[in-house]
């Protein structure tokens, strides 16, 4: 039997420590130990994108790495994206304004992915947006609202930094 390993991960600014089995994925750790249930699990093999989180600022699939590998790292989930509990991140606000969600299951992964995408591409074309969101699957919206939300978020976030 594999031995449990002590890890310490900064999740949304708060230190989360625990003893984990090496086979525990980071996604399960975030959901079950850190209680960040905004990390959704759809396919659990890297296709659907709903478990996407920021690992040291980079968007990655949390189902495709083990919690032990995130030892000493900083993780941001959808719960930690906005400045505080009373506000929405511009990407979240845009999804709300533009009907970027229906059932909402895929939304946390989209919000994280779009936030990371806009960080790297602050002023994207529609084609770049469609390419940028291609790593997340949504079965409700037909993506039109998500593209519109990404466009709006780009405008508001660009407006802020200017």
């Amino acid at each position: 039997m594999a031995e449990a390993v002590a890890i310490s991960v900064k999740v949304n600014g708060r230190l989360q420590q625990g003893l984990v089995e090496p086979r525990l994925t980071l996604a399960d750790f975030l959901r079950e130990k850190a209680l960040c249930t905004g990390v959704h699990l759809g396919c659990e093999h890297g296709v659907c994108g709903t478990c996407t989180i920021l690992l040291d600022g980079q968007a990655v699939r949390s189902c495709l790495m083990f919690a032990v590998q995130a030892n000493q790292a900083e993780v941001t989930t959808v719960e930690g994206l906005a400045l505080n509990e009373d506000t929405l991140h511009p990407v979240q606000q845009a999804f709300s304004d533009c009907h970027g969600l229906q059932c909402g299951f895929c939304t946390p992964g989209f919000v994280i992915s779009v936030a990371a995408f806009l960080e790297a591409n602050p002023d994207p074309t529609d084609e770049e947006i469609r390419h940028g969101i291609s790593g997340n699957l949504c079965r409700c919206t037909g993506y039109q609202g998500i593209v519109a939300a990404t466009r709006q978020a780009a405008a508001t976030m660009g407006g802020k930094s200017r």
Binding site: A2, P22, R23, A59, R61, Q69
Partner: protein
């Protein structure tokens, strides 16, 4: 969707990693970016008693290069530069696909890797996935093996006996099967930059963005001052049990004037070099037909660029 239990090892050096692989033999598996291995573990398509995580092995990350005359020029602070010969680019096996995609040395000296990278999965996958992981996994539909084979890249392999080089032509043996033995560790890949007038193009066909390709092609062309093709390298993916070279296409191009090539016709020759497998995504016949059409298109793209470059002189 939970992997079988395993013991976790996180070595910090190549020698420690190789030591662990030697100690545990076939019960151990190196873990690079995990973008293929972790799903395979989760779906229990495979299981290992010991996982040797390479993510703490700093000496396996980064890109370095030498140009003849000005010595080692380390771009990302990589160790092991001693093995670089004059005019080589060395890419540590743990270099993330996202870093390969954006590294200026790679873009300038091994443009095919730069062009192929955006086709790998999605940006979230490339943030984690590594070049060495892709090459060692040897999926016949993946991008880097086809590029490596076309360019004749070198796999730098460490084992308890020392470090040795394996040329790409000997490296890929079958689907998911390479020349690496159980205690071998792929440490880096090395490429020789092309000199003189040359051009590079890459494209693939997939049903959805980021999916594994039904077929893909990587083309590198070189010409002499008279505008005659003196070098052609064509790699294909998704059309055989490994990445394959379109040797018929390469041979047909040799010595032709750049502005005289009928790219579509030459591309059709690629069908002879393929041995595609039909599956639920596409029949073998479709892959052969689409693949050779694609080779023609990518070749046409490379020819246009080469013509431009010859004009600019």
């Amino acid at each position: 969707m939970k992997p079988a239990a395993f013991e976790y090892h996180a070595p910090e050096s190549v020698s420690d990693a190789v030591g662990l692989l030697a100690q545990y033999g076939d019960d151990a598996k190196p873990l690079a970016g995990g973008q293929s291995l972790v799903p395979m573990l989760s779906m229990r398509l495979t299981r290992f008693e010991h996982i040797v995580d390479l993510n703490q092995v700093q000496e396996m990350f980064g890109v370095s290069s030498t140009s003849s005359g000005n010595g080692a020029n380390s771009a990302n602070g990589i160790n092991g530069a001693a093995r670089i010969k004059a005019d080589e680019v060395r890419i540590g096996a743990m270099t993330r696909q996202a870093s390969v995609e954006t590294n200026p040395t790679v873009a300038q000296k091994v443009p095919l890797l730069h062009l192929a990278s955006p086709y790998i999965g999605h940006f979230q996958i490339r943030n984690r996935g590594t070049i060495g992981g892709s090459v060692a996994h040897a999926d016949p539909a993946s991008e880097y093996p086809a590029v490596m084979l076309a360019l004749g890249g070198i796999a730098e392999v460490a084992s308890p006996l020392g470090t040795r080089d394996i040329p790409a032509a000997d490296f890929f043996q079958s689907t998911f099967t390479t020349a690496l033995a159980g205690d071998d560790l792929l440490v880096a890949l090395r490429f020789q930059p092309w000199a003189g007038p040359c051009s590079f193009a890459f494209a693939e066909i997939a049903r959805r963005s980021g999916d594994f390709a039904l077929a893909g092609a990587a083309v590198a062309l070189g010409a002499n001052e008279a505008g005659k093709i003196n070098r052609a390298a064509v790699g294909m993916l998704g059309v055989g049990s490994t990445a394959v070279r379109a040797s018929s296409v390469e041979a047909a191009l040799s010595g032709l004037a750049v502005d005289e090539v009928d790219a579509a016709e030459v591309g059709r020759l690629a069908a002879q070099d393929m041995d595609p497998v039909g599956d639920v995504h596409a029949s073998a016949e479709y892959r052969r037909s689409a693949g050779s059409t694609l080779v023609g298109r990518v070749l046409a793209d490379a020819l246009v660029q080469l013509t431009e470059e010859l004009k600019d002189g």
